[in-house]
């Protein structure tokens, strides 16, 4: 772990368009280590087959599953500080902004993976952002949420451009 860069205990919101994947089930589940991991995704939460597929990916010993955005807001919106290490994974900067706008206040929010796309420019090897992403992130930062670029618990968090 790089000195002074460890992620805080508590609630972390992560933008990751790879959803539940290796960095989550190895890096965040084993190294942080997360006590809870939730994929917050409206389309997957509404589709039984896909919801079950993603629920199966939550590592053994970790509480978690798939929630819709409004379910996540019900759980964590307006809540006080979390003492458990909880990772919420959302697919997009827009979903992150929506959770924050509806009162979810994480100890940290970060961008893990945002893939190449139309109108997006490279920020790092794993993060590409466009105008809509940047506008959404501005509202998140404007709410006083600590916002970084971070791949793994062990990586030094980088400031957004």
């Amino acid at each position: 772990m790089v000195e002074g860069s460890a992620p805080p205990a508590g609630l972390i919101l992560r933008v990751d368009d790879r959803l539940i994947h290796g960095q989550i089930v190895y890096g965040w589940a084993k190294l942080w280590p997360a006590e809870e991991i939730w994929l917050v995704h409206d389309a997957i939460a509404a589709d039984t087959r896909r919801r079950e597929l993603y629920e199966e990916q939550i590592p053994e010993g970790v509480t978690g599953g798939v929630l819709s955005l409004s379910e996540a807001v019900d759980h964590w919106g307006g809540s006080g500080e979390e003492s458990r290490r909880i990772l919420l994974v959302v697919e997009s900067c827009a979903d992150l902004a929506r959770l924050v706008a509806e009162g979810v206040r994480p100890a940290e929010a970060h961008l893990g993976n945002v893939g190449r796309g139309e109108g997006r420019g490279r920020v790092t090897d794993t993060v590409y952002l466009g105008g809509e992403d940047l506008a959404a992130l501005e509202t998140v930062a404007g709410s006083g949420v600590s916002l970084w670029l971070r791949e793994l618990p062990s990586s030094r968090p980088l400031p957004l451009p």
Partner: protein, 132 residues
């Protein structure tokens, strides 16, 4: 038509595995790899759907529970399979044996058997190891 083989891994593992398998047993149709770096799960799924359609394919991935594996399991339908833990021995067996199989299910099970057979500990022969 032979059952297709698509290798979808982290980084450039897939490209190297396909290149080395091809170097050892020759070029084959419907045997290829797909890159996943820097693209979203949605884009991986779109590319997978375009590649395999509803045709008989086996998608080889490196580790279960990781992005490529989850995306592949998400898109496959009947007569298609995902095999995890891909290694060179498994792909060589695939290329050597696939024309004998009409059933993706049976060929996929063979891939797991033959891939597993490549896992061994080798001890020094000098002096002969007591575990031999």
């Amino acid at each position: 038509m032979s059952i297709g083989g698509l290798v979808v891994t982290h980084g450039s593992l897939g490209e190297s595995l396909v290149a080395e398998a091809t170097r050892l047993v020759g070029e084959h149709e419907s045997f290829t790899w797909m890159a996943t770096a820097g693209i979203s799960a949605e884009e991986i799924r779109r590319k997978l759907r375009t590649r395999v359609g509803s045709d008989p394919w086996i998608i080889f991935v490196d580790s279960p529970g990781t992005g490529p594996a989850v995306c592949a399991q998400d898109v496959i339908g009947e007569g298609q399979a995902v095999v995890t833990g891909v290694n060179l021995a498994m792909l060589l067996s695939f290329l050597i044996h696939r024309d004998r199989y009409d059933s993706v299910e049976e060929l996929a099970r063979r891939m797991v058997r033959d891939g597993s057979r490549a896992l061994e500990v080798l001890w020094s022969r000098d002096p002969p190891h007591p575990r031999d």
